[in-house]
Symmetry: C2
Subunit: 247 residues, 2 copies
Amino acid sequence: MDHCRDAVTLLRDFAMSACDQCLVRNRAICAALDKDEINSLNAIGRRRSLVAGESLIWEGEDSVLVANVIEGVLKLSTGTEDGREQIVGVVYPSDFIGRPFGGKTNHGVTALTDARVCVFSRGDFDAFAREHPALEHKLLQRTLTELDRTRGWMLLLGRKSASEKVASFLLELSDRLSPVTCETTHSGAAARFVLPFSRQQIADVLGLTIETVSRQFTRLRNEAIIELPSRREVVIHDRQALISEAG
Amino acid sequence: MDHCRDAVTLLRDFAMSACDQCLVRNRAICAALDKDEINSLNAIGRRRSLVAGESLIWEGEDSVLVANVIEGVLKLSTGTEDGREQIVGVVYPSDFIGRPFGGKTNHGVTALTDARVCVFSRGDFDAFAREHPALEHKLLQRTLTELDRTRGWMLLLGRKSASEKVASFLLELSDRLSPVTCETTHSGAAARFVLPFSRQQIADVLGLTIETVSRQFTRLRNEAIIELPSRREVVIHDRQALISEAG
DNA sequence: CGGCTCATTGATAACTCTCAACGCAGGTGG
DNA sequence: CCACCTGCGTTGAGAGTTATCAATGAGCCG
């Protein structure tokens, strides 16, 4: 474990400089660009750090900036006038943030953990993208994948019970978080991870209340399917049981 | 009204021939192409008619074809193993269907009404798109918009009550159906329209049961907010009331 | 005129929410 | 160093909304 964490830390310290040392250089949409193009793109962007809880984009504002996630986890969320909130997406390193090509941003973007992103003014990015079809292609592929994922989530929100929701949530997290934790089982999914979410945020992802989430967690713990070493840590003991609970 | 319906019928009768007479020529992604390019695209596609209930794509199969909707309404849906279903999208004329650039199709596509589509083999379409960045750009814009719409729907599924869901649903339909009904109020939304959905399908859109949908409909009727001339017809009498119910 | 599907209506049950109290952990200040 | 305070999470009791089960009704087609 430790040698892995060291490597990650090392890479992170270098990543503040330029794109060719960027942690997500080969996974983000930038992978579509060659060295010269990357330099042009780099010229119109800048790195920015966010502390947990800090917002990058607010719901309803005109789309003024877009970004790539370098490190950390961020949520996309909307809410009703009377204060109910729904998290409509979660983005991880190498994911793209924002609404290029006009239009309003219909959801806020807020850091769940401390995060580092690579931001562009939307106008600059739009112009650059229009001149680089390979970049637009990557962005299209990414957007199509995100649309698929989002539609899968609709099944969870519309048709699954609280226990199915929580089980599905834990499984998805263990997949999506595995590249950073480095501690993986067979198929590359993490058996132990740190939740980037508070209980309230989990509830906002799943369309539940905080109490229902809490009860499901303790039930899973009592059935020895998971372990909860601390509020934010989860260990999956019986992945198969989770899978069959996920529906 | 009648002169309008005549015009629509007239256009529809012509539309079977070539792209330049296509009903959605200027609204679909094809609008990105000039006359020569349209002809090349036309050469690799073909028109196809679907009767209500007929499927074009099945959940889980490899993505083999993509299409543009010319006429009619289709649903995108997924389900759980035990038979629960969730409609994850509804497509209207000029909308794009399918999953270009590899990957499995995660949701089935089924006609809700009789429909006519313009289909392409996915491989052919992919190759064509890669050579025509303007087309990919249109597709990207469309996909981004669809992603926004889908995320808005997540708020409905996760956080809204049955009455809010039904009200929101009727309002969205009255917007989306207005171009074809031609009978519009102030802002281009139809006050009277024919539902392309059965009660079960409405339930599958909203994450409710058929009985709950039915009860909400009769309640809205009893409160004189809507009128239900037949099973499939809706007249909105008090749009403002619907808006405030939609949450 | 059946026989069918689809929709409505009613009674009851189940699940999740709401409201409320308590507990734990981390941080601050005496 | 301990006490207290505060934020977050857990647990419990009860209420409310929606699902489930069941029966009836309306429209359509052979």
